[in-house]
């Protein structure tokens, strides 16, 4: 409804009940679900007024330009993968940045769960054990969890390593962007 106006009452005017009701109804109707941007002062929305977990990607503008005084952090999560098996599907991790702190032997990751369009993943193996990303491994029974290393072969670190992957919705595979270490 946006901005509302009321009937001006001058000295000596006698309003009918209907006129009074209309005056109130106009204001009540506006307040009951029709307040919009025009009714809000600039800066009216402050942090406490935004419900948690309500800002989705669609609420961001077409171009997200972080100023050169801003920084972005993906807080570190941990994964219980202990490794040591011939192949392991990476699961039970969360967020963007995951630490594979429990790997106790050389490990092959044949697949990664949780893939969805464009999901970006940073993995950190702090252990001295080699970590292999298997290329298109049939050992991973869920095909959409498989990894494309972009070399046609498995990619293996020498001991500790870091890696970045992104999920392709077209290929329905994780794409290994980088394996460092």
């Amino acid at each position: 409804m946006s901005l509302i106006t009321r009937t001006t009452i001058n000295t000596g005017d006698i309003l009918t009940a209907t006129q009074w009701n209309t005056q109130f109804d106009t204001a009540y109707t506006e307040v009951n679900g029709l307040l919009n941007s025009a009714n809000l002062a600039d800066g009216a929305v402050i942090t406490a007024k935004i419900a948690d977990a309500n800002i989705t990607g669609a609420k961001f503008g077409a171009q997200i330009d972080w100023a050169n005084t801003q920084s972005v952090a993906f807080q570190e999560a941990t994964c219980g993968l202990t490794g040591g098996t011939a192949t392991s599907a990476l699961a039970n991790f969360s967020g963007v940045f995951t630490r594979l702190g429990n790997i106790a032997a050389a490990t092959v990751i044949a697949g990664i769960g949780g893939g969805r369009n464009g999901r970006f993943l940073i993995l950190y193996n702090p252990n001295a054990f080699n970590l292999t990303f298997a290329n298109e491994s049939a050992t991973e029974t869920t095909a959409t969890n498989r990894i494309i290393t972009c070399t046609g072969a498995d990619a293996t670190s020498t001991g500790a390593c870091s890696a970045m992957l992104i999920y392709s919705n077209t290929d329905t595979r994780w794409i290994l962007l980088n394996l460092w270490g």
């Binding site: 109804d25 800066g43 990607g57 920084s71 970045m164």
Partner: protein, 187 residues
């Protein structure tokens, strides 16, 4: 408070009492004065200018942030980063840091970096004359509060390299930077 209901409806010929007026107005005023909630607002009523800058914190974001394939994501370039006399990458207060063209490094050996808060993603590009020597990023250098784990030995550029570029992320568990990628140029 949500949706409000007018307490008194007047009928033809009725002379409203003072309390009836007061109640009708008070209900309205009470709603406006701090009790406006989602049910009072039209959908999409909170446009950009209505938001105070800096109010979107991590807790306000959904668990999964899916940017569409038409949205762009940029880290604007800062140019304050340097390798200080303590051999530490410093002044990196943002995500994409480039040493400016006039930058002269204090040292060609990098042993740590400041501002290593949990999960801080740092893109860096160090530029310098380097005195014709190679550039070294030391692995887990002892004696530094915030060393860099290169995932191997010291990362050394080609002799004569003028830049070192890469990405690192801060591990809160280790209290160290984890190098994700690095390369050098001779240009």
């Amino acid at each position: 408070m949500g949706v409000i209901v007018k307490p008194n409806i007047f009928t033809t010929g009725q002379l409203p009492s003072g309390p009836q007026w007061d109640t009708n107005f008070q209900t309205l005023y009470d709603c406006i004065n701090g009790n406006i909630s989602a049910s009072n607002l039209l959908s999409a009523s909170c446009t950009t200018s209505k938001f105070v800058d800096g109010i979107i914190t991590a807790g306000k974001l959904t668990t999964d942030i899916d940017f569409s394939n038409t949205q762009e994501f940029c880290f604007q370039e800062a140019s304050s980063v340097e390798i200080n006399t303590g051999h530490t990458i410093a002044n990196a207060g943002q995500s994409w840091n480039r040493a400016d063209a006039s930058y002269v490094p204090h040292s060609n050996a990098t042993r740590g970096a400041t501002n290593n808060r949990n999960g801080y993603l740092l893109f860096f590009r160090l530029i310098g004359t380097w005195g014709g020597s190679d550039i070294v990023m030391a692995n887990n250098s002892a004696g530094f509060d915030t060393p860099i784990l290169t995932m191997a030995g010291d990362f050394t550029t080609t002799v004569g390299a003028t830049t070192m570029s890469g990405i690192m992320i801060a591990s809160n568990v280790d209290g160290k930077w984890v190098l994700l990628s690095a390369r050098n140029d001779i240009s």
